[in-house]
């Protein structure tokens, strides 16, 4: 079994209560940080570890923290992104349910590193039970003196507030999230300025994913070198891969970065359900270009997946067998983005709707000869032309599905039927 970082101690159990967490050495890393290290030393250690953001973009965490300006008298904020809404992704939930205090400990260390005395934890509204778990964890952390004034007599103060969202994928995008946190609709902001300079309430702000922060206490406990050694160069550590779809054992598996996709599917997730043939895999949530069965020897780290034209994204691995109709799957993805576009940018607002409408008619057997070219053209115009990357996220799957499964799309257009269904009969 590979070494566990985030799921260590909780592989088949839960450590909901602080007493249980303390029994396995919980909050010891925090103690060391607050009593022995300066904030800059924490940032340096995280930089050295090669930790990259687990929310989707894979930005180096230590570097992100170092962008917070030092000599401003404005308050600084840490905002935790627990919006987890990318289709195919359900891994932050596992951390919250099994080890909420590990996240709390990471939050205090991260806040200390960037000089924040206030942190907001933004959780999607649907995660009601998970919000209750976090509420309790926050309360317990206050009671034990890991939050509040003068934490562990270090002179450092921190308040953490839970903030529930109300259903909007775009609020997972960091500046959409900030708008939402300010009580507005989640319209992403034009960047620059970046949140590190002008973020929440106009103040310097770091936004980090749940898994990113839950990793930090382990780095401080075992050291950057240990963490870096678990992954591949520039891709330190492990990652939670949420494997779903046509596999025997869907589930969230913590594995070292760089593990081949084939091993994830066939060793850990138990291989293909009912021994059907593997057809395609989405490697990191619905926004990522699709991979064919021939591409699963790719190493699952940020750089290797990017090198073959897709993305590691949120770590949501969606596995499809020979019976999955690519037109239907893509249509569902297109519907999602059309529903979730916030509507600020014309290419995204109009483009997502057109993609959905055209794919709907192709799916319904009413496709026109030029439809596939239209889809490619619309997708082309949606990439790199908007305020936030949701537009790209909607366009990239369209391009990759059609490029890699063009025959199947053509069959729908010309034969007005689905050839996958024909294979089945």
């Amino acid at each position: 079994m590979p070494e566990l970082v985030v799921l260590r101690d909780v592989q088949d159990s839960e450590l909901r209560h602080i007493e249980d967490y303390l029994k396995v050495g919980g909050y010891q890393a925090l103690k060391k940080v607050l009593l022995e290290l300066k904030p800059e030393q924490v940032v340096d250690e995280v930089k050295k570890s090669g930790l990259r953001g687990r929310g989707g973009a894979g930005f180096p965490t230590g570097m992100k923290w170092s962008f917070i300006p030092k000599n401003v008298d404005k308050p600084k904020y840490l905002v935790v992104n627990a919006d987890e809404s990318e289709p195919g992704t359900c891994k932050d939930r596992v951390i919250i349910e099994r080890n909420p205090h590990l996240l709390m400990e990471g939050i205090v260390i991260g806040s200390y590193a960037i000089g924040a005395h206030c942190c907001y934890l933004y959780i999607r509204g649907e995660y009601y039970e998970q919000a209750q778990i976090l509420s309790l964890a926050i309360e317990e952390a206050y009671q034990h003196g890991f939050l509040g004034k003068n934490i562990l007599r270090s002179g450092y103060d921190l308040d953490v507030h839970l903030h529930r969202g109300a259903g909007a994928y775009i609020c997972g995008e960091e500046t959409g999230l900030l708008e939402s946190l300010e009580g507005k609709k989640g319209w992403p902001r034009l960047k620059p300025p970046f949140p590190a300079v002008v973020g929440l309430y106009g103040c310097p702000t770091v936004i980090n994913n749940v898994e990113t922060l839950a990793t930090v206490p382990r780095i401080m406990e075992r050291g950057a070198d240990w963490f870096a050694s678990l992954g591949t160069p520039k891709n330190g550590g492990t990652r939670l891969f949420a494997v779903s779809g046509h596999v025997n054992k869907p589930g969230t598996y913590e594995l070292p970065l760089g593990i081949p996709l084939r091993e994830i599917i066939f060793n850990y997730a138990g291989g293909m359900k009912d021994d059907k043939v593997l057809k395609a895999v989405i490697p990191g949530g619905s926004s990522c270009p699709i991979l064919t069965a021939d591409e699963i020897d790719v190493k699952m780290d940020f750089d290797s997946v990017a090198a073959i034209g897709s993305m590691l994204g949120s770590g949501g691995v969606v596995v499809m067998n020979e019976e999955a109709c690519m037109v239907k799957v893509l249509l569902r993805i297109a519907k999602f983005y059309a529903h979730e576009s916030c509507g600020q940018c014309t290419p995204c607002r109009e483009g997502t709707t057109w993609l959905k409408n055209i794919l709907q008619r192709v799916n319904d057997g009413q496709g026109r000869p030029k439809d596939l070219d239209h889809l490619m053209g619309i997708a082309f115009n949606m990439i790199g032309t908007t305020i936030c990357p949701l537009s790209d996220a909607a366009a990239l799957p369209v391009r990759s599905f059609i490029q890699k499964f063009r025959k199947e799309f053509e069959y729908h257009v010309h034969q007005k039927a689905c050839d996958v269904a024909q294979v089945m009969v």
Partner: protein, 157 residues
Amino acid sequence: MLSESLLEKYRDLTSRYPTKRSALIPILLTTQEEMGYLTPESVRFISDYLKIPEIQVYEVITFYSMLRTTPVGKYHIQVCTNISCLLLGGEEIFEHISKRLGIKEGETTPDNLFSLVEVECLGACCNAPAMQINYKYHEDLSVQKVDKILDQLKQQG
């Protein structure tokens, strides 16, 4: 009009932020949880309470899929049909519930017991197909499992 306990929650929520407006969405959610939906009166009250124009409160309500200005059934069934669920029969689950209850997407049964909507990914992809009834997750669904759940809720009334 609003209960004292709800007002107490408003005070607690606004105390967490440097601007009152930040409490808007949590306040709307809390209100909806207590009253079932956001009535014109409650919206007016919240707008007044937070000093935000009513139109801006509506702007926020209509942006977020969980906020609503009309009532739903006592059991609000939200079925995910996004990719991981789609691959394992999420659409069939939706169709089955729709047929069994005799209602379409967005509708409520005449006895106001059940309402049905199709939703985006619920973050339960590894236990697909999944749905939420009010806030409770139901995962690894099959038609049989759904029938059992609905039978039980019907009996509870």
